[in-house]
């Protein structure tokens, strides 16, 4: 009942804005991609709250979203997201 199918999802995603988000992600390359894909299933506050993760840990988080949670993110987009998170929300070590 609460499940949203991909077709309807794309339409609402394109049509609406992040009105309910109370976290604004840092400016940087890939921000829009991260906002859209991460924000599709969960609020963006998860990102700054986990900003201690290093690149490898962000890689495995993104991989988990794709493999375990079925996020429809292709490899090129995944790389954009990982780059953005590592640079802007990464611990750098």
């Amino acid at each position: 009942m609460w499940r949203i199918f991909a077709g309807a999802f794309v339409l609402t995603l394109a049509a609406s804005a992040h009105a309910e988000e109370n976290v604004t992600l840092k400016l940087g390359d890939g921000r829009e991609t991260a906002e859209s894909y991460c924000g599709a299933c969960h609020s963006l506050d998860y990102l700054p709250e986990n900003a201690f993760l290093n690149r490898q840990a962000w890689e495995s988080e993104v991989a988990k979203m794709i493999k375990a949670f079925g996020a429809p993110i292709d490899p090129a987009e995944a790389k954009i997201i990982i780059d953005y998170l590592s640079v802007n929300y990464g611990s750098g070590n």
Partner: protein
């Protein structure tokens, strides 16, 4: 698949059917947060009220993850409007019509599948009541060293309530559960946003399901369950972490095989052999890990709060709450010198082995200075809190003693 254009439009997310209930701006503000949490929490966490709730510490908005402020732990029972909120997936039921609610009881392990309304549960089964602590497996994850990914819970993903409902074993009895049943699989009305995301479904071993303390609750502290704590029905699994306490319960299935879903096989698992666990989930164990089961013994000092100032030669009361996985609290010791010396606190009313046990200790500092106040709970099984984290990748079972810095003037 989300198109690149859609992605670049950068929009989300008011999807019909998953829009969270309206929230009030009432009480929006900066919460008090314990030291040791990741830096990001201090800039993003807000005090905010969900419908029917007081302002709680909002860690994440969607799905809603809100913890109880330490200052709200004023008695052994946690108020319904203060009780923490935890969801995995953002497909929340918006409005629930209790009159039309059905609990389906089935699976290959029952001979007589049932469909029960709330009034069936209230009229056809004996009611049972139990005081029990509900604690998120990841309570205190935010204090993990090093930090680990996930919701960065502080101290407040725990609460104690008086739960009233019917015994799961009575419901299973009416459905004629076969002796080959190994697990009871439970599901609730919340679900994922995407089709490909595994629904939050859990199982409990048959012996725990048949325990007389395992309930299907319709009341919490004398009121219907709050929406965000699982209205209209919630599974109550005393002693075990809240991952098993399925909210918005609408399906109970007896299974003759171990349940293979993501939330059992991959999530909520702890490394094998690291924790002093008595009751394991035998049908779900592997050589390397096993499902989290019973809570480890723990405590929190609720007063005074961190950074509080006391006065020399004046008596202050150190108060707090202790709990464990259902063996019962035997003692709580207090140190005011960072753990060098200990004295026993006075325990409060015994509300049962699954409930919060309050403690108090009169502290009269003789000299001004900085004091480190620590509480250490010990349970009837002889287990005690640890002084160093038993590290695990998901940050579970954090029962590290927490020194509280107090200034005495």
């Amino acid at each position: 698949m989300i198109s690149r254009r859609a992605a670049m439009a950068g929009g989300a997310l008011t999807i019909a059917g998953v829009t969270p209930l309206a929230r009030f701006a009432r009480g929006a503000g900066q919460p008090w947060l314990a030291s040791g949490l990741p830096e990001g929490v201090f800039s993003t966490a807000k005090l905010e009220a969900l419908a029917g709730k007081k302002p709680l510490i909002k860690l994440t908005d969607r799905p809603p993850n809100y913890e109880t402020p330490l200052s709200d732990f004023t008695s052994e029972f946690t108020a319904n409007d203060s009780f923490f909120v935890r969801y995995h997936l953002a497909g929340l039921p918006e409005e629930i019509d209790a009159e039309r609610w059905k609990l389906k009881v089935g699976g290959d392990g029952v001979e007589r599948p049932l469909e029960l309304s709330l009034s069936d549960l209230r009229s056809n089964f004996e009611s049972a009541t139990i005081a029990a602590v509900c604690q998120c497996s990841g309570n205190r994850r935010g204090f993990s060293e090093p930090h680990v990914a996930g919701v960065q819970w502080g101290l407040g993903a725990v609460g104690n309530a008086l739960w009233k409902g019917v015994r799961l074993k009575d419901v299973l009895g009416q459905a004629h559960v076969r002796p080959e049943t190994v697990e009871i699989v439970v599901n609730g009305a919340d679900g994922p946003v995407l089709e490909g995301t595994p629904d939050f479904i859990k199982s409990v071993p048959i012996d725990k399901a048949l325990d007389e303390n395992t309930l299907i609750a319709y009341e919490m502290n004398g009121e219907p369950l709050p929406h965000y704590n699982g209205f209209p029905l919630r599974l109550i699994v005393p002693g075990w972490t809240a991952t098993y306490w399925m909210k918005h319960l609408d399906s109970v299935e007896a299974s003759t095989k171990p349940f293979g879903g993501f939330w059992m096989k991959s999530a909520y698992r702890i490394p094998a052999g690291k924790f002093p666990i008595v009751r394991h989930f035998l049908s779900q164990m592997t050589a390397v890990n096993e499902p989290i089961t019973e809570m480890v013994v723990n405590s929190m000092i609720t007063a005074p709060q961190e950074g509080h100032t006391l006065r020399t030669a004046q008596t202050a009361e150190i108060r707090g709450l202790a709990w464990d996985g259902g063996y019962g609290i035997r003692s709580v010791d207090i140190s005011t010198d960072g753990g060098a010396t200990w004295r026993e606190a006075e325990l409060g009313k015994d509300l049962g082995r699954f409930a919060f046990r309050s403690f108090r200790f009169a502290f009269t500092p003789a000299r001004p200075g900085k004091y480190q106040v620590v509480a250490k709970a010990t349970n009837v099984a002889g287990q005690t809190q640890v002084d160093r984290l038993i590290f695990n990748p998901a940050g579970y079972h954090n029962n590290v003693m927490r020194p509280l810095a107090i200034d005495v003037l």
